[in-house]
């Protein structure tokens, strides 16, 4: 009986271990992290960074890789500009959104478009540190060597039907987002990795114009 219990305990330990992202363990001082993350986010005025996006189609063993530049400016301005292998631009300025693909420019208002509102909320709240208190996610904070990890399970309708988990990796040195992984229910995932980050540098307002 005792042996069976120990085996069950060992199995539970192994399963729990595998369920966590490799190299990360639950954070010891979560309150301290939350405070520092919120403080750093409050000081953040702007971000300029390169990004690489990988769409991983698990069943097909195929990846779609694209690259571009990301800009953020307080309070609520985001520019995501894909440069290769295709051109695609998304600009968020408050509640206004502009999307420009290969052949057309389209404008939306996040008040009328749920999907863009959720993209907007997720991006801005990650950068501004308010994601930790978002009612749209159940958030677990983990810690690794150089990064913190926010493991988020969507609770909001529209997100939970699509994503099983969203993982946000945060650099310990400056509390900036270095990677976002969005795992779909099907097992496919989209990973955006940021590099060459410039925090609080000059970022022109013209980049966020939505006429």
């Amino acid at each position: 009986m005792k042996k069976t219990f120990l085996l069950l305990l060992l199995a539970a330990y192994i399963i729990t271990g595998y369920a966590q992202t490799a190299g990360f363990a639950p954070i010891k001082d979560e309150a301290g992290f939350r405070q520092k993350f919120t403080d750093a986010s409050k000081k953040l005025e702007s971000i300029k960074a390169d990004f690489t996006q990988e769409k991983d189609l698990s069943m097909l063993s195929e990846k779609i890789v694209s690259k571009g530049v990301f800009f953020f400016k307080k309070d609520n301005k985001v520019r995501l500009e894909y440069k290769t292998p295709f051109k695609y631009l998304m600009v968020i300025n408050g509640s206004k959104v502009m999307v420009k693909d290969n052949s057309r420019e389209t404008k939306y208002d996040t008040h009328n478009n749920k999907i863009f509102k959720q993209i907007n909320d997720l991006t801005v709240s990650s950068v501004q540190g308010t994601i930790l208190n978002s009612p749209d996610f159940k958030v677990k904070v983990l810690e690794g060597g150089n990064q913190y990890l926010l493991e988020m399970v969507p609770l909001a309708k529209g997100l939970k039907e699509f994503f099983s988990t969203i993982r946000i990796f945060i650099d310990k040195k400056d509390y900036s987002v270095s990677r976002i992984e969005m795992v779909e229910l099907s097992g496919d995932s989209t990973t955006i990795t940021f590099s060459n980050k410039e925090l609080n540098g000059p970022v022109d307002d013209k980049l966020f114009v939505v006429n």
Partner: protein, 197 residues
């Protein structure tokens, strides 16, 4: 008036020259325009616009997997098409309507042609060969293959008299489709593909 009268007499038969020419024989050809490739894809339907990346992957000799996501990785659909079956692996809820799924399936099956590679050959006029495949009782596929190529540069879906869907294809020197433009004549739907290298 003259035009209307002509149409009334001939029925504006798009394939009248073809039907006047006896078929040569039922012969094997290469109908597939796309097997393994990624395309930047734009749908324009009744004023609505949708763009993204379409991935075609031949998973067996007669099975094609087709996944369409937007540029940011948001998946719209995932289909598996084989010679005699069609499977929806994933379809975004708001797009999951039988007429949308059926139209997508027919357009995409026309391009990747996982089914028969035999057709009746017509009009070997020196410029191109035309192969006709029967889809159902009143529906046919017409593949136009230039004499100096092994891949189609135009595909039509229609009846014995008129084309309902026309796909125009620009191939490079290796026969790989660089641009594909599908236009529907009965509904306001246009789908354009540009190869991603």
């Amino acid at each position: 008036m003259w035009l209307i009268s002509c149409c009334a007499i001939t029925g504006c038969n798009h394939y009248r020259n073809l039907t006047a020419t006896p078929p040569i024989e039922t012969i094997a050809f290469s109908p597939a325009v796309v097997t393994n490739a990624k395309y930047l894809t734009q749908f324009d339907i009744y004023g609505k616009h949708l763009s993204g990346i379409m991935l075609f992957k031949r998973t067996t000799d007669s099975t094609e997997r087709i996944v369409f996501t937007n540029e940011m990785g948001f998946k719209f659909f995932d289909f598996e098409i084989s010679a005699d079956t069609f499977k929806t692996i994933y379809m975004l809820d708001r797009m999951n309507k039988p007429y949308i799924v059926n139209t997508l399936y027919r357009d995409l099956a026309m391009l990747c042609a996982p089914g028969s590679n035999h057709g009746v050959m017509f009009n070997n006029n020196g410029e191109y060969n035309l192969y006709r495949q029967q889809l159902s009782k009143n529906e046919y596929l017409y593949y136009y293959i230039p004499s100096n190529s092994s891949t189609p540069n135009k595909i039509e879906m229609g009846t014995l008299r008129k084309a309902k869907v026309v796909a125009t294809i620009s191939n490079d020197s290796t026969g790989e489709a660089q641009n594909i433009d599908i236009q529907h004549k009965n509904i306001k739907l246009r789908v354009r593909f540009t190869l991603i290298k």
